[in-house]
Amino acid sequence: MASLLKQAFQNAKSENRPALLTYTVAGDNNKKKSLEILKSISNYADICELGFPHNTPIADGGQIQTSAYRAIKNGIKINDIFSIVKNFKKSKKTKPIILMGYYNMIFQYNENKFITKCKESKVDGLIVVDLPYPENKIFASKCKKNKINYIQLVSPTTSKLRLKKIIKDSHDMIYYISMLSTTGGKLKVSPKKILKEYTKIKNQNKSKNVVIGFGITEKTIKSLKKADGLVVGSAICKEITNSIKKRQNAVINVSNLVKRLKNKIK
């Protein structure tokens, strides 16, 4: 049977639109709230990425850093993250969840134990920001054996030869970083150029689902709707921050944002 991730892409395709992927930080702003947010936005999102927060992220911009620090300050632990996923999956059995974070946390938890826990709580995929190809080969194949998608990242600096190798070793999904930036940067490359690079990746192997992330907001999402999937992260984290500042309900505000995002790519 196809993985939930693959199915999610197929569903979106059948509706003639890209899959919408959301990113929120586990435990932002606390354990209970982040589960509520996740459940609520999954009514509109096709795939939910859940970040495991790290206090020295080397590829995240301000918005996600703020969310991560907030979650850590409120006491989120790795085991809490797995319990969030487990709880989520109780009511949203077919909604794919991707965990995303930095390698040190997996390393300290122990790779094998981490994978077992992912399997138990029904995690569908993993993105590890600082474990690139080919260093991730062994870990990625361990994931695959346990039916967890290891999602390879590709960026504008990835060479042609490297791209070929990465795609060959990839699973169901590939994540294309739209530009040279940390997360949440302003889109400094034209959508046309991004889609051109995207097509180059797509042409290597049409069966792989390629999503585009970094710099995607309400303003920019429509211009990239040709992609298999689009990831919105910082804009969501920012909405949570603003809701807290204004003492408004973050669950409602974020859900409305994701609903608007979805409408833009329908």
């Binding site: 790290h54 206090n55 020295t56 992220p57 080397i58 590829a59 995240d60 911009g61 850093q65 620090y69 850590i72 632990k77 790795i78 930095y102 390698y103 040190n104 946390m105 997996i106 390393f107 300290q108 938890y109 920001v129 600082d130 474990l131 690139p132 190809y133 260093e135 990242l153 590709v154 960026s155 504008p156 600096t157 990835t158 060479s159 490297r162 970083i177 040279l180 930036s181 940390t182 940067g185």
Partner: protein
């Protein structure tokens, strides 16, 4: 895990960039793979390029002002009794610390790569000051990332950086010290790696940065070897090389030529920042037996919690106030070639007071940690033992802290 002889330590890593199979590596985001690969290839080429080496030597001699002097501290030796205490006064180098070696080499590499901008991190402000100096010298635009807490406590160096025309970017995230400055600098590089070169201020970070920094500071021990032979006619039989260790760039530079010697002849002692006596916080991952973890692109012993979050550190010395340490020092620790210990804030201050009282030398708070260890062990050692401390920084930058703590 074993050290090889006749091969510089910076080259003793495996194909994945790990020393001893587990320290170092390159844990970097995909975007940095290409610039890191480009830099790796460029460095590989340049270090064999006679023209480049000539250029390096020219600037080391005429710009940095090498060799720095090697002197006996007679008064301190007489006062303590026991071993002879000597100092390699690296703080004589242009700018006042060893960071000028790495900064100069990185600027030369940036020029060779055709990059117009250079960015760097700084803790004590020396790495930043030197990079801004060298950038100005070589016509590169320079940005320095520095923790907001460090900007406050190392003001003289901040002023110097500004004078050199560098833009200082204050970092307010996390503990607002070196660790956050390095993170922010790496994030900046991720976003601007097409036209910008990054200089890592110490022998930390992804494999190639450890190598470039170590290759640059190795100049210190090359000089010392010559100076030892000229002072003693041969390398003496009982030497102890004491150096402070934060990231570990000056210690590696001070030791690299002597690693192949038997440790009974030349003992290598690294002194980390033990932090305030009464605090649980410190910056001593090697001597306080921290677990291995990954920070800023490399695996090393690391001050962290069970979840893999990086711990806050605390030290009077901004230059040592870093939770990780160079993978090559982890390798030297595990192969037992070097011994690592720590000095507390108070011990470093006392050592600073004692050295400045007896000698015409003004070591900054970083090498004062090394002097603390020298002062501790010298009285117990024989008169034919030669203790050499790398006085790798000048205390001008510590003016405010010293005034506050000592009056």
């Amino acid at each position: 895990m074993k050290l090889k002889r006749g091969i510089p330590l910076i080259d003793q890593h495996d194909q994945h960039g790990f020393w001893g199979g587990k320290f170092g590596g390159s844990f970097i985001p995909e975007t940095l793979k290409k610039p890191v690969e480009d830099l790796t290839n460029e460095f590989k080429k340049l270090r064999k390029d006679k023209k480049f080496l000539k250029k390096r030597d020219f600037y080391f001699k005429n710009y940095i002002g090498t060799p720095t002097s090697f002197i006996k501290l007679d008064n301190l030796t007489n006062y303590l009794g026991g071993a002879q205490i000597w100092a390699k006064v690296v703080s004589e180098a242009n700018g006042g610390a060893h960071k000028i070696y790495g900064a100069t080499v990185h600027c030369l590499i940036a020029k060779s790569l055709g990059k117009k901008y250079i960015v760097g991190d700084t803790g004590a402000g020396y790495a930043g000051k030197m990079l801004s100096m060298a950038a100005k010298k070589f016509g590169l635009k320079c940005k320095i990332f520095m923790g907001a807490k460090d900007i406050k406590r190392q003001r003289p160096n901040v002023i110097a950086m500004k004078k050199n025309g560098a833009e200082i970017v204050p970092v307010y995230s996390g503990s607002q010290t070196l660790v956050d400055a390095v993170s922010e600098c790496m994030r900046y590089w991720v976003s601007n790696c097409d036209n910008t070169h990054m200089c890592v201020g110490s022998t930390v970070g992804p494999n190639i940065f450890v190598k470039i920094c170590g290759w640059s500071t190795a100049q210190i021990s090359k000089e010392l070897k010559v100076q030892l032979k000229s002072k003693f006619k041969k390398i003496p039989n009982k030497i102890k090389l004491i150096n402070c260790v934060g990231g570990g760039s000056s210690a590696y530079g001070f030791w690299s030529e002597f690693i192949d010697y038997d440790k009974k002849q030349i003992e290598l002692i690294g002194v980390e920042a033990g932090g305030p006596k009464k605090s649980k916080l410190h910056a001593a991952p090697l001597s306080k037996n921290a677990k291995i973890g990954i920070l800023h692109g490399a695996a090393s012993y690391l001050c962290q919690n069970n979840e893999g979050q990086i711990n806050d550190t605390e030290s009077i010395s901004a230059g040592l106030d870093y939770p990780g340490v160079s993978p090559i020092h982890c390798f030297l620790k595990d192969t037992k070639r070097a011994r690592y210990t720590y000095a507390t804030d108070e011990e470093a201050l006392d050592a600073h007071v004692m050295v400045t009282k007896y000698e015409n030398l003004n070591p900054s708070l970083e090498p004062s940690h090394a002097f603390a260890e020298a002062i501790k062990i010298a009285p117990k050692l024989s008169k034919d033992t030669i203790i050499i401390v790398n006085s790798c920084g000048d205390a001008k930058k510590d003016r405010d802290i010293l005034k506050e703590r000592l009056g």
